[in-house]
Symmetry: D3
Subunit: 63 residues, 6 copies
């Protein structure tokens, strides 16, 4: 019963995100030998004013 | 000091969510013998294009 | 597909924890009208030197 | 590679949040002796109808 | 800067876990077009008495 | 009611960790104007075979 939470910077298309969760689930099923329907993935897009590297929000460094 | 984070698919009424957190807090206070004001609950409703089972977003399988 | 993560201070018996997850699952199934087998709960017991209130670990304030 | 996730009640200004992540990163770099660019902070503002204390949402107790 | 947290039931070999994080990182780099060194993965193995489905710990249902 | 979860690589002394949570709580109280006892911090030390950068566990790259 893998639970996978992914936090990624906002800015990806619906198509990219669909391919991503399909790929992640496939890899997880293969490597850990678990059935696909037991793999739950939460994909969160972080707004650029919610995520900071080195004490600065992405929105500050990529204005 | 229990911290409880709940991720549920979006689509519940405010009334349902209020009853839910009240019930969860009551059960936690009783079973773990902790005072109510030390029980913190975060209830997050996940959009259907943010949560995937078996490599497919809920928005893909419940169109 | 509710995912529930509970962080509680260490010090509970196996019996208490079993009753707790059974109660939490029952309440969730009733209040949100979801099947039991779709309710996943992770119950983490935090060591007292891993959780701090007001800038002090519990291990410091309850020696 | 510290990852820091902060959940705070909504209602702070962009200025307050910028100062906060800068301060948190500085303290982390000093106390744990890690380079600034390895410190990742996610700062999430919780809506008042998403966070509950003692079984009641903040939106219920601060109407 | 994707942060990926994976919670999986305990019981996998070091070899399986190494292949898993390598595969997950590769897929993430390709699908989201991010550099490998910006991909952070935390892989947590959950003890069977810490994770419950349908209100029962795995340790109860797989004795 | 800030909840702060910090994941840091294992290898810090109890003294360093005590100073860290005291500093984080002080900064949070000042910047967000919240009372100290409402600041909860969970500090998790990640084993080096549980955290990966670029698809390799720290235990692989720092043998």
């Amino acid at each position: 019963m893998p639970m996978i939470q992914v936090n990624v910077l906002a800015g990806h298309t619906a198509e990219e995100k669909r391919k991503f969760v399909a790929d992640i689930a496939r890899v997880t099923a293969e490597d850990f030998n678990v059935p696909m329907d037991k793999i739950w993935i939460q994909l969160i897009e972080m707004p650029h004013d919610e995520f900071a590297v080195g004490g600065k929000f992405i929105s500050e460094t990529r204005p």
